[in-house]
């Protein structure tokens, strides 16, 4: 169509009629093509008109950004002041106030590492070492006790660093376990296969909350007397066990996508099982499952919010405790919208990335 339009212009020196180009044409083609669509557009516009102006008025025009809670109660708009007034507690929980720079730096490092990882040209052997080094430095920053850093007990960890830690460490630790489970499920050995299937189906059949309850009340019973494991580590273990079952299913999909010829070729070269998997099958299978793995990372990231229920101070719990304080009670929409924004930005960038990756890898 554009081609013929061009020809017309060249031939006759005339512009195409206004109805065929530009904004008018776009509106006609996309909003008012047909009676039904026209009605639909008008109804939708009316609903938007009903919803958006009052919301914008509440959120931006009548809102207060840096005030006390009392001033907020007098006003009629949104009280965003709850965020700046409590931002350090929301983000870092009970971490000692003067040491907040440490989790902050650790978070920046994690985000930096993630941004660095976005480029697929960086994915090589040293990349793994960079991640391990980065994660260790983050751990030292959080924990302290080395290089003259004041030790901070992990009971005091909280807020966004805790959320990030639970999801990323959960993902990294769960991945090898998930791959093993997937290989076990595809194995020819009936005993191994049964154990893996039982584990995967059991975990996928129950809600995460039951595993978290288990970590809170049952794990202490599992260890001999005198051995106590930190609450955060226990919750982390539950998240790892849970995520591994889901990763196993994703990896199994990848393994199934590898054609039989690949297995046979590897066997005819005389490779043993470990070599066959490590050199031939897994590199191809894991490449296929990168996008769905990002999907699992996203749901793991969202699911860490469930630790609220076993009273760990992740970013949602810190927000809730701010809301429970008498002075800021009742400003929950503002606070929840802020936390939702944090989650949205993280998850949206991850899912966008996974979609782009899917396109790139589709070769």
């Amino acid at each position: 169509m554009t081609q013929s339009g061009k020809n017309n212009i060249q031939k006759e020196g005339l512009k195409a009629p206004i109805i065929r180009i530009g904004v008018v044409h776009w509106i006609k083609a996309n909003l008012f093509n047909g009676v039904f669509n026209s009605i639909l557009t008008i109804v939708t516009l009316f609903l938007l008109y009903k919803v958006i102006p009052p919301f914008a008025r509440w959120a931006f025009i009548d809102s207060l950004w840096f005030s006390s809670a009392e001033q907020c109660r007098a006003g009629s708009g949104a009280c965003w002041s709850i965020i700046p007034a409590n931002i350090r507690f929301i983000l870092f929980g009970f971490y000692p106030h003067e040491l907040h720079w440490r989790p902050f730096v650790a978070m920046i490092m994690l985000i930096g590492l993630l941004l660095y990882s976005k480029n697929r040209n960086h994915w090589n052997r040293s990349f793994g070492y960079i991640w391990i080094a980065g994660l260790s430095i983050m751990g030292i920053l959080m924990k302290g006790g080395l290089f003259g850093l004041t030790p901070v007990d992990s009971d005091q960890w909280g807020g966004l660093p805790l959320t990030l830690m639970l999801s990323f460490f959960g993902m990294f630790a769960a991945y090898p376990l998930g791959v093993l489970l997937a290989l076990g499920r595809r194995s020819q050995m009936p005993a191994v296969k049964t154990i893996c299937i039982l584990y995967i189906e059991l975990i996928r059949g129950v809600p995460l909350i039951s595993l978290l309850f288990m970590s809170a009340v049952l794990f202490p019973l599992f260890f001999p007397e005198g051995v106590t494991v930190n609450k955060i580590i226990r919750a982390q273990a539950a998240i790892i066990l849970f995520t591994a079952a889901y990763i196993a299913e994703v990896v199994r999909g990848g393994l199934q996508a590898i054609t039989r010829g690949q297995y046979e070729a590897a066997e005819s070269l005389g490779l043993n099982y470990v070599q066959k998997m490590r050199l031939i099958v897994l590199p191809q299978a894991l490449k296929i499952v990168i996008p769905p793995s990002v999907g699992i990372l996203i749901s793991a990231f969202k699911d860490t919010s469930l630790v609220v229920i076993i009273a760990l101070y992740d970013v949602l719990k810190t927000t809730k405790s701010v809301l429970a304080s008498p002075s800021w009670m009742g400003f929950s929409p503002e606070a929840y919208l802020f936390v939702a924004l944090i989650y949205f930005v993280c998850c949206y960038s991850m899912s966008n990335y996974s979609r782009r990756l899917e396109k790139e890898l589709q070769t």
Binding site: N33, N37, M189, S210, L218, K302, V308, L316, P333
Partner: protein, 398 residues
């Protein structure tokens, strides 16, 4: 565990190097090793647990189920009081979970289908709005959404005296959602019976119509007629009973409403949160299912002279459903599993009742096993039903 040690002795392996290289024997050895490790781990955890339980003098076994629960439950489908036994309290919780899951799944499928179709709409505005909704809802944790809706009921909605009335007879306040229902009339059970009879009749009519179509090639107006029977029969009874139209309208008495049907804030928040969250995922599934059907199918169906309605019901939907159903099943299970988050906002679902039980009796192992078993049963039942349905819809290859 018992078989583990004697077989893997290094002596044997050294003596008969060829024997150890036999893949079959190796497989057996590996399996024994794996079973041994798992068994040892299990035994270690089990013995520690027994030891710890003995030391802390916690009772074991499910005997507590027959003791008096002595806690109240906010809402219940069956009569329940604090004097009832734990087992009844747990049953109340399980029924509440089923209630939320059942209503939630129906609403989710409706809203999700609507959104999925809206996403594919040729209307740019509608399509983009649906896309924004799907993206935003998927990226915000369900628990946060539940907290938001809970605070919506308690912090934003006014007291019953200033209740908002969005529709005639529907009142929203911080005591929940109250709406008018038809007043009880003796004709209602007959109407329900007529509906069931209509459904059975429709089932046989469809079978007959399909047989006839296979035999003669004539199409019978099944859809219009089924709709007519299913609505018409109860309607006739209703008219015969003199068209009772009296409504049980909620009225403000003192500080709260009486009459009508009441939906507590906890239940409301849970239901709204679960439905809005899961519908976003269902919408993506529906969109993908419809898009998976090639354009050629529509064109071919139209080329052989089918009407648009027939194109949809005979060609597009049967194929799209085949793509949609497996992921839809897992979303339904997700909704059921996510309903366990009710514990965070105080709705007495199964997990919430079980966790109260754990706190009172201290019998965490039994309590958590009960939670896991109940949810595994839900999962199993849903997937059995869906597998049956899936098999029915599956491609019959000749």
């Amino acid at each position: 565990m018992k078989k583990g040690n004697p077989v893997i002795s290094t002596e044997d392996a050294a003596q008969r190097a060829a024997w150890i290289n036999d893949p079959k024997i190796r497989a057996i050895l590996y399996q024994i090793a794996v079973l041994g490790i798992v068994g040892l781990l299990g035994y270690y955890l089990f013995s520690n647990t027994v030891e710890n339980l003995k030391r802390q003098s916690i009772a074991t076994g499910f005997g507590f189920l027959n003791k008096e629960a002595s806690f109240e439950i906010g809402e219940s489908l069956i009569p329940y009081s604090a004097a009832d036994k734990y087992i009844k309290a747990l049953l109340v919780g399980a029924l509440n979970t089923i209630k939320v899951a059942f209503i939630g799944i129906i609403l989710t499928v409706c809203l999700g289908t609507f959104l999925g179709i809206a996403r594919l709409s040729k209307n740019w505005l509608v399509s983009k709005l649906a896309a924004v909704y799907i993206e935003v809802m998927q990226d915000i944790p369900i628990l946060l959404q539940l907290f938001f809706w809970y605070s919506f009921f308690y912090d934003i909605l006014p007291s019953p005296r200033e209740a908002i009335e969005p529709l005639n007879g529907v009142f929203m306040s911080n005591r929940g959602l109250v709406f008018a229902v038809p007043e009880w009339h003796p004709a209602h059970p007959y109407m329900a019976m007529a509906f069931v009879a209509g459904c059975i009749g429709v089932y046989f009519m469809r079978r007959w119509a399909r047989k006839r179509q296979e035999r003669t090639g004539q199409i019978f107006p099944v859809f219009t007629l089924s709709l007519g029977i299913m609505i018409g029969l109860p309607l006739t009874i209703w008219l015969l009973a003199g068209a009772p139209h009296k409504m049980n309208v909620p009225e403000l008495v003192g500080f709260n409403f009486t009459g009508g049907l009441n939906m507590s804030p906890e239940f409301g928040a849970l239901l709204i949160g679960l439905v809005l969250y899961t519908a976003a995922f269902v919408a993506e599934i529906v969109r993908a299912g419809i898009q998976a059907i090639g354009k050629g199918q529509t064109e071919a169906a139209m080329a052989i002279g089918l009407k648009p309605g027939q194109v949809l019901s005979l060609v597009i939907l049967p194929q799209a459903l085949r793509v949609i159903i497996p992921p839809l099943t897992s979303q339904m299970l997700n909704l059921t599993k996510n309903s366990s988050l009710a514990v965070a906002i105080g709705f007495p679902d199964f997990v919430s009742v079980a966790s109260t039980t754990i706190n009172q009796t201290g019998q965490a192992i039994e309590g958590i096993s009960l939670i896991m078993v109940v949810y595994l049963c839900f999962s199993l039942l849903t997937s059995l039903f869906m597998n049956w349905y899936n098999k029915k819809m599956a491609l019959v290859e000749r």
